[in-house]
Each structure stands twice: as C-alpha cells, then as structure tokens.
Symmetry: C2
Subunit: 331 residues, 2 copies
C-alpha cells in the first residue's frame, strides 16, 4: 500500500503541477544543447498542448511514434537484434550440422558478419525470423529476457540496454509529461523489443509496433499455446511503417522521430495530417562519441530522407552539435 | 486551462481516493443484481488490485479484453456492421448494375437478409470487407462516422450506439477505476469500430483489435494516403483472437469477456496464464428485454463455450437474472 500511495502522490504532483514543477526543476531536456532542434521540439509541444493555442490537440490524440534502431538506441556496427540471432545460431548449431555449409549461417558461425549481411536488410530480417521461430511465444520471451540481461556491445562493452540515447530518453519523458502516448515503430521484431522496452524506455509492450512472423494458436497437453512459425508476416519498414501505425493505432501520429530512409514514409504520413505534424530526423554525425554515417551506409542509410527533410523544413538533429551527451552515464 | 485543472483534480481524487470515493458513492455496478456473477467479478478485481493480496498484479499488467458484438452491444437480428454494409450496397448499387443478379448483393438489395446471410459468418465478413474497400482510410472513417451518427436499430428504433449494455458500460468504468486497460477484441472490422468506440465505451482507437483488410501506402497528388484493398488480411475470430491479442498487446489478458463460441479461444488463453485469469461469458437468456439465443443460433452461437464454461467454473452471466437493466435509459 505504501508503494502505491507514493506512486499516486508522485503521479498527482506530476499531473497537477507538471509544468510548474518542470519550470522549477529546470530544463526538461538537459542533454540537448540550446539550438534549432531543441527549440523546434519545445515550440511544437507548447503549440499543441497549451490551453488557448490555436493548434491545441486533446490529450487522447497526442500520439508520437519513434523508430528504435538508430533513433532510440545505437545500431552500429550491426543491428543489435542480429547479435541476438548470432548468439542463438551458436547455441543451436550443434543441432544443425547442415549450417556449417549453408549461408548465412556458415558465415555467422565463422564470425564473418560482412558475408552474412551481404543479402541486405531483408535477408538479415529473414535470417533473424528464421532463427526466432519454432518455439512458443512464452519461450521466446524468456529467451530474449535472459539474453538482454547480459548482452554487451561488441565495441563499448556496455550492456546493450545502456546503448540508448540519453537525449531521446529525456524527450520521451518530456512528451509523456505533456500528455503524449509514445509508440515504438521499428523494422525490428516486435517480440524482440517487447520484453525490455518498458524497463528501458518506459514504453509498455502494447505500444510497440514492429516486424512480425506468423503465430498460430494450438493446444498442447490441454493447455493453449501460441507457436512462432518461420514465415514473415509483416515487414514494418518504409511503406510498411504507416500501414503498421494505422493497423495498431488507428490514428495519424502528431509527431514522428526517425533516423533513416526506412522512416521516411512514417514522417511523410505524420506531416500530412490536417493540422500538420512534427517530423524529426536524427542525423548520425558524431564519429567520436558514436558513429558517423548517412547517405552511403548499409545500416541506417539516410539519403532520400535527408533531402526531403531539408526541402520540407523538418527538424534534423546534428548529433555532434545538438546533443551534449549521447549515452547515459555509466550506472 | 480551467478544464485541464478540473480534469486533473478529478483524476487525482480518483487515483488517490478511488476506492474510498467509490465506497462512498455506493455500488459501482448498480445495474447488476446481487448474485454469483457480480460477486465473482468484484472478488476478482479485489484479488488482483488490493495491496497485500497474494495475487496482486501491477497496474501495467491489468489487461482486460472484451468481445464487441453480443458482449458490449447487441448483435440481433443481424450484426450491426451488416446494416452498414447494406446501406453501403444500396448507396453504391447505381454504379454496380451487375449486383442485381450477383449474390449476396442481389438478396441484400431485395431486403432478403436470410439468403444474403446463408453463406455463414465468413461469407458475411467477406461481403462486408468487399463493400468496405476501394477508398482511403480517411474516407472510410468519414463514411462510418456519418453513418453511425444516424443509424437506428431495425427493431427498437434506437440509435445503434444506444443498443449497448448498461451493465457492461459500468463494468468497463469499474475496471478502469481499478487500473485496468480494456481492449475490444472483435470479429468485426477494426476500422468499423474505431471511429465511435471512444465516445461510446471510453476505449481509444489504439485499444481496438478486429478483423482487417489489406491497406497499402500510396502517393496521390504529392500527398500520402492509405488505401483499403478488397483482400481479407486477418480474421479476428476463434483461433484468431489470441493471435490478434498477442499481436496488438503482447501480454496475456488478466480478464476476458465474451458471449459466443468465437470467444472461446480468447477465454482459454486468458485463463491459462501463470496466475490464472478471469473469464466471463454473457449468456443471452432474456427474450423479452433483449433476445434469447445460444446453442443453435447462427449469430453468436454459444455451445462448446457454454459446456467449457460450466466444466471449468467460468463465470456465466444469465442476462435475465443477473442484469437489472439491459440498455441505457433513453437519452
């Protein structure tokens, strides 16, 4: 009871005195340098939330969508979900002698990621899906939870769940405090994200949209189970993002945040609503604190999207210039 | 600003003093007669929400799922979505001379619903889907919104949005006050429900799960649109309900409410979790105030489900006995 009361009081103080409390506590986006990107997002939030504003939007319609890889957490040197797939391939290899000569498994088992990734994003995703099927949904959730608890980044050695962008965590909290409901809209697997995003981002599993494989309902020993099948059901990337958003949310987002050409259609869809919408691209410009890549990268390519953002005046975050901090301090 | 403050204060009073306030205000389920069904749902809610309870469930995991047709609103003499389809067929008929001899359109245009429905639920749904495609998602939303604002029930003459069950509205509010997040999980079309469920049930569009047709992302005159295609994408019925729940929510419900064999798998899935779950069937036993039907009905058949409910001790609502009121008073 004590915990609930403390939670309730905190929630109420936030609800009743949110803006005041925030003003007293100072800057809600302390890891963002004062500049055009920060100003744009703060101006947008004020424009749609302040009573009396001509563009005021009721709280229930304040939907924000965030790409995950490269937008909320890092995506270099490879998508982190691929690290999970590699560990899974290694674990399952003794039961699959044929993988020694079958690509992309053979390359992965040799540690040759470049060859394994040669088939492009779609091949990567299919590989991931293939190695993610054949178990129940409960079993898969347990596997992901166990793995993410100890998985480390190959370059920094930090837990993957600490390879998240501190400025984006602040942005999620800032939007939440202003009545927004944020969804993850990722090309990654929906069930790969759900077990940990609530703890890491404060986003519950029902606010996650992603790529998915087919799932079937079966009875096993009198108990119902959902079984993951090795068939791609939906690829939540590019054209798929507005489709996935519509399917899961049923409303057009008011704001969308991405970092690659795979997010372009989501940003187009978000900004085409009646009142206009807010679109932001995260541009990976910091080769020292993170990675620097855009138009020619095979991971997180930002080319057409960058042109369209510049042409349409969308907000583009220059990570090197606009972010005072990239990753959270070591815990 | 005044409205926001009033809302905040009300929300806080509810949050901090919810149970006390409710006890003072009296019975949260006044349209339910005192009996086994009401006792069972109240005991369940207390068991999972009261601090110190061995079965306490954190608020974020309190997910409830509700079938719509026959559970939240009536479904006789035909599913209400079919009334929309019929009106749409009539409206489009001048552009489709071939419908005069093509079933099920020919029967519908003659007002012979029995023949049009002869193909069963799947045929009905396909007919509905066929007549619901070929426009953008924005256009379809506008069509549904316009139609539902004036659609009347063929027998009672009441607006369809008043053919909802008052005891279930109270149950939705009671669960919400106790920290539950409720989802609609219907065999009906997801986009047919979304435009009106927030106003009628207090359930936002992103908490609606239903059957769906394929949607594609296109550019029209420089503006992105989502176009509804005449292809069934997902049938959210029977085995499909747990699959749809998993896809949209990613958590097993803590409580599920249905009225037909089409809800059986949802109830099986809900009650198979680690802590057990609460399952309720609404049994249509009141031929005077509503309709009386179960094992032999072509609409909302409750046969296998009733047997399983009795065998497993699920809560079965006898509408005639357990509900003091069926529909809300005339507004």
């Amino acid at each position: 009871m004590k915990n609930i009361s403390v939670f309730s009081v905190v929630a109420c103080v936030t609800l009743l005195f949110g803006r005041l409390g925030m003003a007293q506590a100072g800057d809600p986006l302390p890891s963002w340098s004062d500049g055009a990107a920060k100003s744009a997002v703060v101006a947008f939030v004020r424009r749609v939330t302040e009573a009396g504003s001509r563009d005021f939007v009721p709280q229930s319609e304040r939907i924000a969508t965030f790409d995950n890889d490269g937008t909320l957490w890092a995506e270099q040197p490879v998508y982190f979900q691929l690290l999970f797939a590699i560990d899974r391939v290694k674990e399952l290899a003794p039961h699959h002698p044929e993988w020694k000569t079958k690509e992309p498994f053979a390359s992965l088992l040799k540690g040759d990621m470049a060859s394994a990734l040669a088939g492009g994003e779609h091949a990567t995703l299919e590989l991931v899906m293939e190695t993610h099927a054949g178990m129940t949904t409960d079993e898969f959730e347990a596997q992901v939870s166990k793995w993410i608890a100890s998985a480390k980044h190959p370059k920094t050695g930090r837990p993957l769940t600490e390879m998240v962008y501190q400025p984006m965590l602040e942005l999620l909290a800032y939007l939440k405090a202003n009545g927004f409901k944020s969804f993850i809209v990722s090309g990654g697997g929906i069930e790969f994200m759900r077990p940990w995003v609530e703890r890491v981002y404060g986003i519950p599993p029902e606010q996650v949209i992603g790529s998915s494989i087919k799932v079937t309902f079966e009875q096993r020993g009198g108990a119902p189970v959902l079984v993951r099948q090795p068939t791609l059901k939906f690829l939540n990337d590019k054209d798929g993002k507005p489709v996935g958003i519509h399917h899961h949310i049923g409303r057009r987002p008011l704001a969308a945040f991405g970092n690659s050409d795979g997010d372009l259609q989501m940003l187009q869809w978000t900004t085409s609503g009646a009142g206009g919408g807010f679109a932001m691209y995260i541009h990976h410009t910091d080769g020292e604190r993170e990675w620097s890549y855009d138009r020619k990268s095979s991971i997180g390519r930002l080319d057409k999207g960058l042109d369209e953002a510049l042409a349409k005046g969308w907000t583009v975050v220059d990570m090197k210039r606009d972010w005072l901090v990239v990753f959270p301090p070591n815990r």
